[in-house]
């Protein structure tokens, strides 16, 4: 079973401001407040909303990986009875190139708009070229078939290195590589070159006693949320728009719809549906602006729901990549030089996560001399979207495979090797800042002390260890807390609950207010009902929105003290508030205690309704580290890899609701195992995705996995009231290499190309 490691008092470097060691709610495992709705089928997700007069919207998609759009003839489709609206790029403003911060990272608005609806060129199989709204699904399908698009097919390129090569088909005539010393004289698919360096690389390698080199590849993989994208949009006759959609941020949807359609943000009200998984893939818009454009044309609400085929062909995925790693070390294991080259597919528009992949590549290591060069490369594949710790699992796969080879070459224990080179408090991180209050070494220790680390292995079995890092972010959040007349509380925030954040919000408020968690009702509000919050992503919600909730609850406690002082007729400094009760500190005055319920009932006498709202830009999100240990067994006849045992330790700050922290770790591991073993985009020669369904794009199922032991190492993040830090992204970073390193142990060979599917393993075993 999973458990929280107790840390000796002396090892706690800085306590969290509100953690006095006697927390009553934070750190417990209450039933989530939205749970009953979700186990009874009542919770409403993106596709579950129906409105009177609602039309069905559908998208016509390019069958070509790369083609010039010569013409689009919609006349026959428009003439079909039941067709109410048809839009193409001509119905959207032709936006200028502009970087805009609203999703998981900055997006170029022109590219965003062109991804929503192709203009002049289709850049991947599945790229939207037109859309219809009709009175039924069948009529919409018929109308799509009647839209005649004339294409001039162009040569396409999918592979990242092929796209970088001279003479490759160029996707964008206006794209010139950024980040070079001189502006290149011709366009390229390399959108950007980034570089991180420290020390003297050549001198570092010259002084090294051992050199390890490797070249690794990963396939493009999809986030694979089970809920396809879905929305309903209504464009009112007065220009007031309503959107109901499943996304990681209602404010993100509002912003992007406003930009793509050139509308006022305040004219768009976005209500978040429950979200059926996102993992970063729902941090942008695909359907919402199209549904609004269709609704604007016909005046009726339009519902759009993607098929699974559309989800695979036109949303997500994350990059396929090439990773080159060269490490130089001394005989005692000290890594003295590291040279890392990363080439990431961006899909049809610039913006792969190679920047984050570069910054995280060596973040667990204190290396004096290094160079990390990243290339952001456009390809004729869907524009990549964020996927859980975007970019980090890819670079970690290369680096952790190479570090594993280094340990083997030196005959060193893999944890000892990592400990020797570990970043610690005070280490200047490879990406710039100086680490404070990190729990990386403790996390390594947690795995070393775990019985799994010394358990025996059988024939054809291997054990792999890998580590991983993610920054975690804070950012802008708003939260409001209102106290009812009976002393119960409502917590309102603007972040979709993707994995239990309603529970953590309610728990933090309950802790501060001294209420049982059942008396706190958390609500995720629409964009018109709460102030701005950045989306749910970057592992920020429990940290940043939780900070806003906590501060709002603290404001209420101060207000309750003031109100109690008024009622008791004492000064405020003579009132304390403990466990939901205001107490007069001067017992000689004989003042009766006042509960929050009594204070709420008398609110009219003390200034009216009790409530507080806090808007903030949270700083101090502590980075997280994961150390994973994986056992596999390889069937030498079939090449099939079975994951036998998996233990994941993570530096989690403070687990607000430990069960959901474990859940994040376990879920991240499962996705990482899928990435390592099964999942990949497969394209045919024409650039058409061959496996756009869950039968052929195989995500892990229950029988593929063992129980996943999640160990939470709690080193408080003092910048959060309860010591919390983000936990959702770290756990997908180590598994790719943990699995590959275990396979290395089982078959005695280094596998460098993901996924480690049976044919590849068979070939490696057969080659002897």
């Amino acid at each position: 079973m999973s458990d929280v490691l107790e840390r000796p008092e002396s090892a706690i470097r800085v306590a969290a401001p509100l953690d006095d060691g006697h927390l009553k709610v934070v750190g417990t495992r209450p039933i989530r407040p939205d749970g009953a709705e979700k186990v009874t089928g009542k919770a409403l997700y993106g596709a579950d909303l129906a409105m009177p007069g609602m039309l069905v919207g559908k998208i016509k998609r390019s069958p070509h990986a790369h083609a010039r759009i010569v013409s689009i003839d919609t006349r026959k489709a428009r003439a079909l009875a039941g067709v109410k609206a048809i839009v193409t790029a001509a119905d959207f403003p032709d936006l200028a190139s502009e970087e805009y911060e609203a999703g998981e990272s900055a997006s170029n608005l022109r590219d965003l708009s062109l991804n929503v609806m192709a203009r002049h060129k289709a850049l991947y199989d599945g790229h939207a070229v037109a859309a219809v709204a009709a009175t039924s699904s069948d009529i919409a399908d018929e109308a799509l078939a009647l839209i005649v698009v004339e294409y001039e097919a162009l040569p396409h390129v999918i592979d990242v290195e092929a796209a970088m090569a001279d003479g490759a088909p160029v996707l964008h005539a206006h794209l010139f590589t950024e980040g070079l010393a001189a502006r290149p004289d011709k366009p390229s698919n390399i959108a950007k070159r980034n570089e991180l360096t420290r020390g003297d690389l050549a001198a570092g390698f010259a002084g090294a006693e051992v050199i390890i080199e490797g070249r690794y590849t990963t396939a493009a993989v999809h986030q694979g949320y089970i809920e396809p994208h879905a929305c309903v949009a209504n464009f009112g006759a007065d220009g007031q728009c309503q959107v109901w959609s499943s996304s990681q941020g209602q404010f993100m949807i509002r912003t992007y719809c406003a930009k793509v359609l050139d509308l006022e943000a305040s004219d768009i009200r976005v209500t978040p549906a429950e979200i059926g998984g996102g993992f970063g893939g729902k941090t942008t818009v695909y359907l919402e602006p199209v549904a609004l454009a269709l609704s604007r044309q016909c005046g009726a609400p339009v519902k759009m729901v993607m098929t699974r085929d559309e989800v695979f062909r036109a949303t997500g995925p994350t990059s396929g990549a090439v990773i080159e790693v060269k490490l130089g070390a001394m005989a005692d294991g000290t890594i003295v030089a590291a040279d890392v080259v990363l080439k990431y597919q961006a899909g049809a528009f610039p913006g792969s996560p190679v920047g984050a992949g570069s910054m995280t590549a060596l973040a667990c290591y204190d290396v004096p001399n290094f160079s990390i060069v990243g290339y952001d490369v456009v390809t004729n594949t869907p524009k990549v979207a964020a996927y859980r710790a975007p970019g980090a699992p890819i670079s970690a796969f290369g680096v952790e495979s190479a570090v594993d080879d280094l340990a083997l070459k030196l005959g060193m224990d893999p944890i000892a090797l990592r400990e020797k080179n570990a970043v610690r408090d005070g280490t200047k991180a490879s990406y710039g800042p100086t680490f404070r209050n990190i729990g990386y070494v403790e996390t390594l220790q947690a795995i070393r002390e775990h019985p799994h680390y010394s358990a025996p292995l059988g024939p054809n079995q291997g054990r792999g260890l890998a580590v991983g890092f993610w920054f975690n972010v804070g950012g802008e959040s708003t939260a409001a807390v209102n106290i009812g007349e009976d002393g119960s509380a409502v917590v309102i925030s603007g972040n979709p609950d993707i994995g239990g954040s309603r529970a953590s919000m309610a728990m933090m408020a309950a802790e501060v207010l001294g209420l049982p968690v059942e008396k706190v009702r958390p609500i995720v509000a629409d964009t018109a009902s709460i102030g701005f919050s950045m989306l749910t992503g970057g592992s920020r919600t429990t940290f940043a929105t939780g900070m806003a909730v906590t501060q709002a609850a603290q404001k209420i406690v101060e207000d309750l003290k003031r109100r109690a002082a008024l009622l008791m007729d004492v000064s405020v400094d003579q009132v304390d508030y403990v466990n939901g009760v205001a107490v007069c500190l001067d017992a000689s005055k004989g003042k009766a205690d006042l509960t929050i319920a009594e204070l709420a009932a008398k609110a009219a006498q003390t200034g009216g309704p009790i409530g507080a709202q806090v808007s903030l830009n949270a700083q101090g999100a502590g980075p997280g580290f994961g150390v994973h240990l994986c056992d596999v067994e390889v069937d030498p006849e079939t090449g099939h890899v079975t994951v036998l045992r998996y233990t994941a330790a993570q530096d989690v700050g403070k687990a607000i609701h430990p069960a959901y922290v474990e859940g994040q770790i376990q879920g991240g591991v499962a996705q990482g195992v899928g990435w390592a073993l099964n999942e990949e985009y497969v394209f045919d020669r024409t650039g058409h995705m061959e496996n756009a369904g869950f039968l052929d794009y195989r995500v892990p199922v229950a029988s593929d996995l063992p129980m996943i032991d999640a160990i939470m190492v709690e080193v408080a993040n003092p910048r959060h009231p309860f010591g919390a830090k983000g936990v959702g992204e770290v756990p997908i970073v180590p598994p790719l290499a943990a699995v590959a390193n275990a396979v290395r142990g089982a078959i005695g060979k280094r596998m460098t190309d993901l996924p480690l599917s049976p044919p590849k393993i068979r070939a490696a075993v057969d080659a002897g």
Binding site: R29, I31, R32, D34, G35, A36, K38, V39, T40, G41, K42, A43, L44, Y45, A47, D48, A50, D138, Q223, G224, Y225, I226, E227, P228, E274, I275, G276, G277, G278, V305, T307, R308, I498, G499, G500, H657, A659, Y660, E662, G663, Q664, Q666, G667, G668, V669, A670, Q671, G693, F694, L695, V699, P700, V701, A702, S703, D704, L705, M707, I708, A710
Partner: protein, 161 residues
């Protein structure tokens, strides 16, 4: 387009009637005609199990069943799992074990797990994992789901004793 046909069936113990085109799936009929949106469409091809329902005692993907095939038959969906206001032990255990994150796959998994425990009240962990292999969950890694199912099975066995 073919005319819609009149269908009579029993859904969650209650008689229902609805009209359905010949090509409409049972899933779409449940969701769009009967307003039972607890069954979800994750793939439409029988690969994810989010639309799992029990048809005359047999676990099926309702996206692979035509609505007209439901004529005269009994359909159990997630909406019928709880006994009025009392959660089924599986539902309760899913809550206690935090066996859901986004919750989208949860209705299908609960229906599939009920079919498992109806057929096999004392499954091994391995049997539970293989039975649920047709239900994709992308959030949890299945760990807490399997624990919840095993715990609910144990509780149901005690109730039966």
């Amino acid at each position: 387009m073919s005319k819609r046909q009149h269908i009579s069936a029993v859904v969650n113990g209650d008689p229902v009637e609805f009209l359905s085109a010949p090509g409409t799936t049972l899933l779409d009929a449940l969701r769009d005609e009967l307003g039972l949106t607890g069954s979800k469409e994750g793939c439409g091809s029988g690969d994810c199990g989010a639309c799992s329902v029990i048809l005359d005692g047999r676990l099926v993907c309702s996206c692979l069943v035509l609505a007209v095939e439901a004529e005269g038959r009994r359909v159990e969906t997630i909406e019928g799992l709880a006994d009025g206001g009392t959660l089924h032990p599986l539902q309760q255990k899913f809550l206690e074990h935090a066996a859901l994150q986004c919750g989208f796959c949860t209705p299908g998994i609960l229906v599939a797990a009920k079919a498992l425990l109806d057929a096999n009240p004392d499954p091994t962990e391995s049997e539970a994992r293989y039975w649920l292999a047709g239900n994709l969950c992308r959030c949890t890694g299945y760990d807490k789901i399997i624990r919840a199912v095993m715990d609910a099975a144990a509780e149901l066995r005690q109730v039966r004793v």
